[in-house]
Amino acid sequence: MTTSADPLNGKRLTARGVKTRARIVTAAADLMYVRGVAATTLDDVVAASGVSKSQLYHHFSGKDMLVRAVIDLTGERVIQRERDALGHVSTIAGLKRWRDQLVHNNALRHGAYGCALGSLASAVSDHDDVARLALEQLFAEWQGLLVDVFRRLQQTGVLPADAAIEPLATGLMGALQGGYMLAQTARDVTPMVTSIDMALKHIENLSVA
């Protein structure tokens, strides 16, 4: 029988166990994205995933453990999406297309849900250090993709060779995450657009004339 280790409690899982666990985590991730972490109960997850409560407890000792699994899944999704979107960007125009895609996706819901990763960070960073460290790692990875873009911009002479690209990537991520939050409150994607555009304008202004 195929088994694989449960990444959280080290239990060996059967193929069926892996499937059940994935169903729980996917349902929880969707609920937490739409309602927020605090407003999602384990009963909600049981109802949405169609598993029994004892099955849920077999995989997760409590909500914190489930949230950690949601962070892993959400992180995987976001990093994959961003790797696809940023992996080959080597121009300012390419960065603007990346911005268009993020805005377009967020505008479909009038910005109501924000960034899946940013919302998790907002909800758990203060009370679960394991979750916080996982999020720190994920944001570092995402920012690393932006650093790679800036490095390519340096190689083509668009950005000056001595530009401090790591703080620049962190700053752009801050503008993006803050833009998501403002859009979420305004139920309107406009402040997100403004914030990313102004940050990109600043980066463009660093360009060697």
């Binding site: 960070a121 401090a164 503008a175 939050m181 660093l206």
Partner: protein, 147 residues
Amino acid sequence: MKAHFAQVLARETTSLGAVTDAADLAHWRRGLIEELMTPRSPYAKALRQGGDTRDRAVFLDQWRDLIAVALAPVVESGGGADDGADVQRTAVLILAAVHGGSILSRVAKDAQPLNAALDVALGPLLAPADAAPAWTGANGPLGNMEL
């Protein structure tokens, strides 16, 4: 409106009201970072998502307007070509940088991300000595050599 929203707006009215030039703006920024990195500060509490969205929206609109009013003389004294619309847009970026930078700083347990976000948002407005900018020599000989 929530108490910490009102507290932040009252303090921002005073601190942003005192801004007349880039040095004042840099001073405001230092105080702001200190507040945001203090978990019990009304600033840190006000930035936590949650609660009534309409209250939060009103709070953010008012704070943004305070920032925009404070920016206007700094932009003018800097001889910037920015017009009123750009001041409004910069105020949105600053507010976003405050929010996004704070969450990244909470995740990292370090003020650096908040600093980096505010560098991007305020950098163009602050004199190099005040801003400690995250980049150098954009127009210097090294940069030009890359052409």
